[in-house]
């Protein structure tokens, strides 16, 4: 081998290196911005993403299979673990579906309690978003401030249901009983504890303050605006094609809110607006959620005025047997449309339960939206989607 050849070889090696062939960057499943165990396999050149493949399933718990071996009462306990930051909102569509199948009428007061707790769950979920989204962008203070304020909401939920994250408060035909109801105790449903309304209204004032805080800290911050405005724009047709719902869809200009559309819980007696924006970028998705917290505050204030007195539980048999039939029941979860397709064959357990979880559909747009973005924008876009991995994997 002559020295000439050697030189030639090294030159060849240098020119190959200068071409910088695409690098594969494995983001996750243990990564600070993937909210748990999402994994993204990205082909990048420089900091630009050429192609991205999300890998999910690290938290797949098989809830659809598990539901087939559980009674309806046991599934209620299971479903509020799907999207754990808004546990109560997951129970509602399931219990409504079972009630539809059984033809059970729910007393008014129980419906209003469900409504109030759903909205509390919505606020608490959005507060988690308002804390984690700035964190993705590098601001750590909103995280602590919003989690501090969420504590007020969790306290209210715990006051009523006994659980902060997993209320498991809904029962077919009403709400949770105090005890089993033996010879000494009467079977009695858990009504709202004394002073609840006063504390709720006080908490709502605090929530308004935290909305103002987040406006000061995040909305008005030029760095946030520079990082998010025009980043990750989803046009409405793409959003519909990928099944985006909730704030993610409403940020794209489609004012679709099941609370207005679907006839469930007494939302029709309440005056509130559907928050929607037209930009479809990360900043709009953030603004929609902040706006929804303000609307939820409005809803809860009205609900506290409107809630009637009365019974809480319709009589249902002790052993729940659900008549055969198929029903799809959906409700507006903080993250979007949450639905259950219940196939009953007349037994104690469903024959098949399809869980339409919101984050799963919302995340399915990731390969499309992240193509051609920069790595810092990936973080901003994913943060703006507000997903929970338990909700993706089920």
């Amino acid at each position: 081998m002559t020295s000439r050849q050697l030189m030639h070889r090294s030159e060849a090696a240098v020119s190959i290196e200068l071409e910088t062939p695409g690098m594969t960057l494995n983001i996750g499943p243990q990564h600070p911005s993937t909210h748990g165990v999402l994994r993204l396999v990205a082909k990048i050149s420089g900091e630009r993403i050429d192609e991205i493949e999300p890998v999910i399933g690290y938290m797949h718990r098989g809830y659809e299979k598990l539901s087939e071996v559980r009674t309806y009462a046991q599934i209620t306990a299971l479903v509020n673990r799907i999207d754990w930051v808004s546990g109560f909102a997951n129970e509602v569509p399931f219990i409504l579906g079972v009630e539809k199948l059984m033809g059970v009428e729910v007393p008014e007061r129980a419906q209003w309690i469900r409504l109030i707790l759903t909205e509390l769950a919505r606020i608490s979920s959005h507060l988690v978003f308002m804390s984690s989204f700035p964190l993705e962008l590098g601001a750590s203070t909103p995280l602590m401030h919003m989690l501090r304020d969420r504590e007020h909401i969790l306290e209210l939920i715990e006051d009523v249901t006994g659980g902060r994250f997993h209320p498991n408060f809904n029962r077919v035909g009403g709400v949770k009983p105090v005890y089993g109801g033996g010879s000494k105790t009467k079977k009695q449903s858990m009504d709202l504890p004394a002073g609840f309304f006063k504390r709720t209204l006080k908490a709502m004032d605090l929530m308004e303050q935290s909305c103002r805080d987040i406006d000061t800290l995040v909305t008005g911050n030029e760095v946030v605006r520079a990082r998010t405005i025009g980043i990750g724009v989803i046009p409405s047709d793409k959003a519909l094609e990928y099944g985006l719902t909730g704030p993610n869809l409403r940020a794209s200009g489609v004012a679709y809110d099941l609370r207005k559309v679907e006839n469930y819980l007494p939302y029709d007696q309440i005056d509130f607006d559907v928050v929607s924006r037209t930009g479809g970028d990360s900043f709009d998705r953030y603004l929609v959620r902040v706006g929804e917290v303000r609307e939820s505050i409005k809803i809860i204030r009205q609900a506290v005025d409107l809630i009637p007195a009365g019974p809480l539980q319709t009589k249902v048999p002790r052993v729940l047997k659900v008549p055969a039939g198929q029903v799809y029941s959906r409700a507006e979860n903080p993250k979007g449309e949450f639905g259950y397709y219940i196939v009953s064959e007349g037994g104690k357990m469903p024959y098949r339960l399809k869980i339409r979880s919101t984050s799963f559909s919302n995340l399915s747009i990731l390969p499309w939206i992240l193509k051609g973005q920069l790595i810092p924008d990936l973080v901003a876009i994913m943060g703006s989607f507000d997903f929970v991995l338990g909700d993706v994997d089920r």
Binding site: G162, G182, K184, L192, A194, L217, G220
Partner: protein
């Protein structure tokens, strides 16, 4: 930058004002092991057992989604309440264990108990170094009974 420097600088400074104000305020922190928060009466902390009331009917063990309740019992003959009456049998509880390593705190067992034997207690300090120690036996479950609060007053 999107809105021009006229909006940018005040926006940035307002945020700094908020953090400074927060710094000067007292932090809302409960120093846990020294100061303890009192959980609400309905808090689902731990399940307590009134063994006197339990009839070993197995309802809770059957309804438990996690299969974490273990009950054993035997039947005994009970003397007739009045002479010449029918001889009845009674269930005697031998073992009642809840495995808190498995329990998911759904409260179905408390809901279904028809004899007022199970109650929620808001106590929460029973973590263990070994998972096996989380299996609370009848005696341990009975100790929790003293911590069960009265149900709270209701909103009228």
């Amino acid at each position: 930058m999107s809105r021009g420097i006229k909006f940018a600088i005040p926006g940035l400074l307002k945020g700094m004002g908020l953090t400074l104000r927060t710094m000067l305020k007292k932090a809302p922190v409960t120093m846990y092991p020294d100061v303890k928060e009192i959980p609400v009466p309905r808090a689902r902390g731990v399940i307590s057992l009134d063994a006197e009331a339990c009839t070993a009917c197995m309802l809770c063990a059957r309804e438990c989604p996690d299969w974490c309740i273990y009950i054993e019992g035997h039947k005994v003959e009970k003397a007739p309440s009045k002479p010449g009456g029918r001889v009845r049998t009674e269930n005697i509880l031998d073992r009642f264990d809840i495995d808190y390593g498995l329990c998911m705190y759904c409260g179905i067992c408390v809901d279904v108990c028809p004899f007022d034997a199970l109650f929620w207690s808001p106590e929460y300090e029973y973590s263990e170094m070994k998972i096996a120690d989380l299996l609370h036996d009848q005696e341990r479950l009975g100790e929790w009974l003293t911590t069960v609060p009265e149900p709270p007053a209701l909103e009228s």
